[in-house]
Symmetry: C2
Subunit: 261 residues, 2 copies
């Protein structure tokens, strides 16, 4: 491996991340030279979007590309890696939780190229806004991946495996769990004949506030003010929702404890 | 009271809601004819923004305005109402939780004018995007308030007291509690030397998704997929954060229960 820039890329995977990432790489002027997918229908679909050949058998993998991107579900990583035969070509996975070391012993040059966003196959995403977290087992590979990241996004960081795991847990709280609270609000509003979109402006303002304030500064609400009277009213209103009442009580207690030491 | 449109308004209160609402009313061409504040410094500050007289003694309240807006904290509502002497002038409060009935026996014509947004005195807000929830004890007053609401905002709804309470609880989940999860992410990222703004795009995308999907459809993440392996990894990572670990476990269980019946 002796290149100054990654140009020829093989995509291994044909799901949401593989699709969005390979489209972005193509837009950035890279040559996607081959696509692999275990399911022929999906491999075919992605290959036609990219106008490139696909394979469903890893024995037919092209050698000598500048980069192999393994964008598949975590559980399949090791199994797929076992069937890939490379010399010193650089290979990365795109997972938020799997350590870089998973490739130790398999591939001489390896790393991670993790775009921090939720993807769907249908909705094309502007990569410029997506933070990309990279890691590699050599300085040379790291520099190649940082360079590639900068061709796609304005935010590219070197992030270690343990940092990446912390980042992924943080994203679960800030996004998946936040959305669960949106879904509780959806249920309560539906039961009270209120259209959910009444809450859109407030939800967006709560997210937009983070441009100017850290969440710990931005905390508001009855628990933050320690307004027990309103919290009691709310618990009364939740009497028919034991699950949601329990969560209301726990989170309110935790906010009080955090901000009223 | 026999008017087709509200024009002359007295503002009772000088906090965040009073400030933002009275500035919006003035921009919409209304006459703010007087401001009351218990604290002289705050009353003075708001009155100078509106270029109008202020009072700190309710005995000096001007009679005969088309509307009196009581924008004060919930706990002070009844006490202030006791000191207001009106004939048949229309008076509203702006609270998310207090019932309209609080004015029963005090004022012949009364209602609620509740703008659903978080306010701060410094950041001026475009009212056009803010849902306004109105309620009144007569059809005539209701129509006046709906009309006034439409002069400020593109979303004006008649919302009953019990609906308003459900809406307020929903907003606590979707905003205050969501922000608490942002604050957990802030803590985890800080401890791992990661800049919090890496999460901004993901947080904004999670909120923006609601334009096209209801939260119950939009739910993603390890608990939604029932990916126990990743959840175990995350719990291991949270071993030094017993509080956050407990929340991670509870919310993950609830998401699993809700989506994998």
């Amino acid at each position: 491996m002796d290149i100054s820039q990654i140009q020829n890329i093989v995509i291994i995977g044909s799901g949401n991340v593989a699709t969005q990432l390979s489209l972005a790489l193509k837009s950035a002027g890279k040559n996607i030279i081959q696509v692999f997918g275990r399911k022929e229908s999906m491999a075919k679909c992605l290959s036609s979007k990219l106008d490139v050949d696909y394979i469903t058998d890893l024995k037919k993998l092209k050698k000598g590309a500048d980069l192999y991107v393994l964008a598949i579900i975590d559980d399949a990583l090791l199994d797929i890696a076992d069937h890939i035969d490379l010399d010193d070509e650089l290979i990365v996975h795109t997972s938020g939780t799997v350590c870089m070391d998973v490739f130790e012993g398999h591939f001489k040059n390896h790393g991670v190229f993790y775009p921090l966003q939720t993807f769907s196959k249908e909705k094309n995403i502007d990569f410029d806004d997506i933070p990309i977290c990279v890691e590699a087992n050599s300085q040379e590979s790291l520099e190649l991946l940082l360079k590639l990241g900068k061709e796609l996004s304005s935010t590219v960081n070197e992030v270690s495996s343990s940092q990446r795991k912390a980042l992924h847990v943080s994203a679960v709280f800030a996004c998946n769990f936040a959305n669960y609270f949106y879904s509780i609000a959806e249920d309560l509003m539906k039961d009270n004949d209120l259209p959910f979109d009444l809450l859109h402006p407030l939800i967006k303002e709560t997210a937009a506030k983070l441009d100017h304030h850290m969440p710990n500064e931005a905390q508001t609400g009855p628990a933050r003010r320690n307004d027990q009277k309103i919290m009691n009213e709310h618990l009364k209103m939740l009497k028919d929702y034991p699950d949601y009442k329990e969560i209301y009580q726990l989170i309110s207690e935790r906010i009080k404890r955090k901000f009223h030491k």
